[in-house]
């Protein structure tokens, strides 16, 4: 952020800007950059998802658009969606119906503000970083509930109610799994969490103690549920609920839900990398030549791939199994992780 401010300061015509204006300009640029990253996520990961799904099911996936392995498929989809008619059902609550996708989009975008891409390269260097990310990403739940309710559609309502129940439930093991890491770091600042993992593979939080290893998997499972992806895609089970909470949405408003879904997928993967997998630090000294931001993104994309692998391998769970897994298995295990890791930290001093 400071480097960005210095860059703007040296730009022609910016010599007499006040510190406040400089700061605001830099923040707006960062926000634009994050929004671009989000939009790129949606484009790159939809293509990647279809290719991964294809190869896992022994077929090719998109092959025609753009010649080389159908790389332009997602771009073509985006262009097509731009020209789609926008239909708002006559029975719907129009105000909420229009507002919901924007809220979902905002919830995704805001969380990106505290992601530490490289040393010093974070839009908002908040002391409450991780807490802030979890807090603002809850906006997505409100947006989904709003979308389902305002559609006045039975499928949408079921999908939204299920989605909200699932997302609030899995938020607890998700947050609990990060508690041992915060105990080690002694800070919620996202940069501090990454800096504390300096010094090779053994210092990554996932390998610090056995309980953290378990906590990572708790986080991973909960993050799949948080992003509403298979095997936990209850809110939009296409075989029973049509499309879940966004059944009535079309065109650009649907695209917002879609964008937010893939942005959240990358977001939870980046948080997993940041909290457990060493953030921007390379696993081996040999790989230190790679720029930190690139290391961070490569790790994030690998986590996304892992997420897709799980999605296209495991069958969907039932609603009761979903709740059983969260409340009776994951929350007790996550609590034991906090307890066990605390004891290990006390013994080590």
């Amino acid at each position: 952020m400071d480097a960005l401010i210095a860059l703007i300061q040296n730009a022609p015509g910016a010599a007499n800007m006040s510190a406040q204006a400089l700061h605001n300009t830099a923040a707006a640029l960062m926000a634009t950059l994050m929004f671009t990253v989000m939009a790129l996520c949606a484009i790159v990961f939809t293509w990647m998802e279809r290719k991964v799904a294809g190869f896992l099911q022994n077929r090719y996936g998109p092959m025609r658009t753009g010649r080389w392995h159908g790389w332009a498929q997602a771009v073509a989809d985006m262009l097509k969606i731009l020209g789609k008619e926008d239909i708002i059902p006559a029975e719907a609550d129009k105000g909420l119906f229009v507002f919901a996708p924007i809220l979902v989009l905002l919830g995704s975008l805001l969380a990106w503000a505290a992601i530490p891409w490289a040393p010093g390269f974070v839009a908002a260097d908040l002391d409450l970083g991780l807490f802030y990310i979890f807090a603002v990403s809850s906006l997505v739940i409100i947006g989904i509930l709003m979308a389902g309710w305002s559609s006045n559609n039975k499928w949408a309502l079921y999908g939204a109610a299920r989605g909200a129940a699932q997302m609030v439930s899995y938020e607890i093991p998700l947050a609990l799994a990060t508690i041992p890491v915060i105990m080690y770091t002694g800070s919620l600042n996202t940069q501090d969490i990454v800096i504390a993992q300096q010094g090779g593979l053994a210092n990554w939080y996932i390998f610090r103690d056995p309980f953290l290893f378990v906590a990572f998997w708790m986080y991973f499972i909960a993050s799949i549920a948080e992003t509403n992806r298979g095997p936990f895609d209850m809110p939009e089970t296409e075989s029973e609920l049509v499309a879940g909470y966004h059944t009535e949405y079309s065109g650009m408003r649907f695209a917002f839900f879609f964008l937010s879904e893939y942005a959240n997928l990358f977001l939870v993967s980046l948080i997993a990398v940041m909290v457990f997998l060493g953030g921007w630090w390379a696993p081996l000294p040999l790989l230190d030549v790679i720029p930190p931001a690139l290391t961070f993104i490569i790790k994030g994309v690998m986590m996304v791939f892992f997420n897709m692998w799980v999605r296209w391998t495991l069958p969907r769970v039932r609603v009761d199994q979903l709740m059983h897994l969260c409340w009776k298995v994951m929350i007790p295990i996550a609590l034991i992780c906090v307890l066990g890791s605390g004891i290990i930290q006390m013994v080590r001093g």
């Binding site: 700061h23 605001n24 300009t25 923040a27 707006a28 926000a31 634009t32 929004f35 731009l82 020209g83 789609k84 926008d86 239909i87 006559a90 029975e91 924007i102 989009l105 905002l106 975008l109 805001l110 908002a124 260097d125 908040l126 802030y132 309710w149 559609s151 006045n152 559609n153 949408a156 309502l157 109610a161 299920r162 129940a165 609030v168 439930s169 938020e171 607890i172 609990l176 508690i179 041992p180 915060i182 002694g186 800070s187 919620l188 009535e248 065109g251 650009m252 408003r253 695209a255 917002f256 609603v319 009761d320 709740m323 059983h324 409340w327 009776k328 307890l339 605390g342 930290q345 006390m346």
Partner: protein, 162 residues
């Protein structure tokens, strides 16, 4: 140049960082409006009464969807509030845990105090678990089944899930 003079007091009073968040909100709204605006210019608009009906698999929709639904969702929301507050309490404790642990006279007390707090909440979890409120399909209390119609009694035993 994007100068936002009205943000001045906000950003300076929040040491800059939450001002950045506010700018993120504004930029998000601008981009959303931009995308919707561009789409509005390009897309066709031929609404018809049939198109505007609520989708119900091609049938005419029956009644409103704004109805009461399974009470289970409210229960989940209640549990969530209790445990989410617990997690919120855990965060500040986790931040100071290591530094307070080293304070002479405090030591392990810092840890065990939180364990007692967690223990009380875990007792609550164990209670709702034993009560069967964590089961999505909750069995009704031991209600004596009517003797005459065993088939109906078997059907009533479980509340159907949604």
């Amino acid at each position: 140049m994007i100068a936002l003079p009205f943000l001045g007091t906000v950003t300076s009073s929040m040491s800059g960082h939450y001002g950045t968040v506010l700018i993120f909100v504004l930029v998000g709204i601008v981009f959303a409006a931009l995308a919707l605006g561009v789409a509005k210019l390009i897309r066709p608009s031929n609404p018809s009464p049939a198109k505007m009906t609520t989708y119900e698999c091609g049938e005419l929709p029956i009644g409103s969807s704004w109805i009461r639904f399974n009470v289970r969702f409210y229960l989940i929301a209640l549990f969530f509030i209790i445990f989410d507050v617990e997690v919120i309490f855990l965060y500040p404790w986790a931040v100071v845990f290591k530094s307070l642990f080293k304070v002479p006279g405090l030591g392990a007390l810092v840890f065990w105090e939180m364990i007692i707090f967690l223990g009380i909440l875990t007792l609550g979890l164990a209670y709702v678990w034993a009560k069967g409120d964590l089961d999505w399909v909750k069995r009704l209390m031991d209600r004596p089944a009517p003797q005459t119609d065993t088939k109906a009694a078997a059907l009533e035993e479980e509340v159907p899930a949604q």
